[in-house]
C-alpha cells in the first residue's frame, strides 16, 4: 500500500515539472546561501518564489492582499487598553518580548528569560496579556491573535530572519531538528521528504516549497483567511495521516524554531499570501 502511494507520488513529481513557471525555476528568485555550515541545504528560497504570478501579484500589493484586513484588526487591538492593569499591548509588549518591536518578528521563537524557555510570538503575547496587562489570553487561532501576530511580524517586514539556536535555545533546536526528520503517520513521511528532498517538484498538482515560515501568519486561499505556523504544521500532519498536535504544543514550538532557522537570512514577508 505504501509502495503504491510512493509510486503515485514519484510519478506526479516528474509529470508536474512540465508546467513549472516560478521565479525559483526561471532563475529570478532571491537565493540565499546558508551561512551556518550545519545547514542541510545549499540554497535558501522563500515560498514566495515557488508560486506563480497569480499569487505573487497579490502579496506584492498591500491593498490587494486580503491579509491586511486582519492586520488592520490587529493594529486596533494593539493600541486598545485591555485588562486590570489599564494597559494596552503597545505599552506592555517590548518588556515582555525582551527585544525591540521591529526586531521581534525576525527573532521569535526565542529563549525568553521571563518564561524560562523557548516560546513563540503567540506565547509572548499571551504571557504579556496575563502577567503585564491582567487580561485574558487570546485563543491561538482567533482573529484577535492572528491580527496581533500579523501586525507585530509586519513591523519586521523586509528585515532578515535571524533566530538564535545556540545556548539556552539549543535543546529546543535539537528537539525541532529531530521532529523535522522523524517519519510519522500512515504515509510514514517526515517534513524532509517533501521540503528538503523534493522542493521545486510537484506533489500531484502542488508545487512544493522549502517549507520556510518567513511569511507567517499567512493568508492562504485554501483557508480563505489568515492562519498561524502551527495551523500549517497541523495541516501537513493531517496530509500524511498523522495525528496533529494541539496549537502551542512544545514540540510545535521546537519545530517552529528549527524551521525558522532553516530560513535564517530570508526576508520577513508577513503577512504573506499563498495558495
Amino acid at each position: 500500500m505504501r509502495l503504491a502511494v510512493m509510486i503515485t507520488m514519484a510519478f506526479s513529481l516528474v509529470a508536474g515539472a512540465a508546467f513549472a513557471k516560478t521565479p525559483y525555476h526561471d532563475g529570478t528568485a532571491e537565493v540565499i546561501k546558508p551561512t551556518d555550515k550545519n545547514h542541510p541545504l545549499g540554497e535558501i528560497v522563500s515560498g514566495y518564489d515557488f508560486r506563480k504570478a497569480m499569487i505573487r501579484d497579490v502579496q506584492d500589493d498591500d491593498f490587494e492582499n486580503p491579509a491586511m484586513l486582519v492586520v488592520d484588526h490587529g493594529e486596533e487591538l494593539w493600541g486598545t487598553v485591555d485588562g486590570s492593569a489599564g494597559k494596552s499591548l503597545s505599552q506592555a509588549f517590548e518588556g515582555c518580548a525582551e527585544v525591540p518591536l521591529d526586531v521581534v518578528g525576525s527573532v521569535y521563537p526565542r529563549f525568553n528569560n521571563a518564561a524560562g524557555k523557548v516560546i513563540s510570538l503567540e506565547q509572548v503575547i499571551n504571557m504579556c496579556r496575563e502577567t503585564a496587562m491582567g487580561a485574558k489570553p487570546y485563543k491561538w487561532e482567533s482573529r484577535d491573535m492572528l491580527g496581533i501576530t500579523a501586525y507585530i511580524r509586519m513591523q519586521s517586514r523586509g528585515s532578515r530572519v535571524n533566530v538564535a539556536v545556540d545556548g539556552k535555545a539549543s535543546a529546543a533546536f535539537e528537539r525541532g531538528k529531530k521532529l523535522y526528520y522523524q517519519r510519522v503517520g500512515q504515509l510514514d513521511m517526515s517534513c524532509a521528504h517533501c521540503h528538503e528532498d523534493n522542493y521545486g517538484n510537484y506533489i500531484r498538482a502542488d508545487m512544493l516549497s522549502q517549507g520556510n515560515i518567513n511569511g507567517f501568519p499567512t493568508y492562504r486561499l485554501k483557508w480563505n483567511g489568515v492562519g498561524s505556523t502551527h495551523r500549517r504544521f497541523r495541516g501537513c500532519m493531517k496530509n500524511i495521516r498523522a495525528k496533529p498536535l494541539p496549537y502551542g504544543h512544545e514540540d510545535y514550538v521546537a519545530l517552529e524554531l528549527y524551521t525558522a532557522w532553516r530560513g535564517n537570512g530570508l526576508k520577513v514577508e508577513a503577512p504573506a499570501y499563498r495558495n
Partner: protein, 155 residues
C-alpha cells in the same frame, strides 16, 4: 498573463478534453456544474437572441490558477465612454461552476474607461466568458480558459 481572446463556440466535448489535458481533480460532493449550454442559454437571455459581435475585449486571467478560491478576472472593453457611445454593462460567466453567473457590472460614461478587476471562485478548469452590452443595444463577447490545479496536498 494577458490573454486576448475572441468568441468561439464551446462544445461540451471540447471542455471535457481540456479538463482531461490539465489533469485536474474536481471538488467532490458538488452535484452538478453549469456547462456550455447553460452559459449559451444565459447569453441568449441577456441578448434576446441578438447576434454577438467580435469587438476588442481584453481579458486578464491567469493561464493556470494554483487554487480556485480566488482567481483574478480583469477585463477592459475598448470604448470612448462618451454619453452617446459607451458600455452599459459587462457580464462575467463561467461554464464549469455550479451556476454560470460570476458577476455583472454596470458602467457609466463618468468612468472614462470600461474596465474592472475582481476575484472569483472556480471549481475546476473551465472557460470564462465575458459579454459586454453597449448603450446602442449591441453585444460583444470574449472568452478564455483557466486551468485550475487542485492539489492533493497543501495542508
Amino acid at each position: 498573463m494577458k490573454q486576448t481572446k475572441q468568441f468561439s463556440t464551446i462544445s461540451r466535448r471540447h471542455a471535457l478534453a481540456m479538463l482531461g489535458a490539465a489533469g485536474t481533480a474536481v471538488f467532490a460532493g458538488v452535484p452538478a456544474y453549469a456547462d456550455g449550454a447553460a452559459v449559451a442559454a444565459k447569453i441568449k437571455g441577456l441578448t434576446g437572441g441578438k447576434s454577438v459581435g467580435e469587438g476588442t475585449i481584453e481579458l486578464d486571467l491567469p493561464e493556470i490558477a494554483e487554487n480556485g478560491n480566488a482567481v483574478k478576472v480583469a477585463f477592459s472593453v475598448d470604448s470612448p465612454m462618451t454619453a452617446d457611445n459607451y458600455v452599459k454593462a459587462v457580464h462575467v460567466m463561467a461554464d464549469g461552476n455550479p451556476t454560470p453567473d460570476v458577476a455583472s457590472f454596470n458602467f457609466t460614461p463618468a468612468m472614462g474607461a470600461c474596465s474592472a478587476s475582481t476575484r472569483m471562485r472556480l471549481a475546476k478548469t473551465q472557460n470564462i466568458i465575458v459579454l459586454a452590452e453597449m448603450n446602442d443595444g449591441s453585444f460583444k463577447q470574449a472568452q478564455a480558459t483557466v486551468k485550475v490545479t487542485i492539489g492533493g496536498c497543501g495542508g
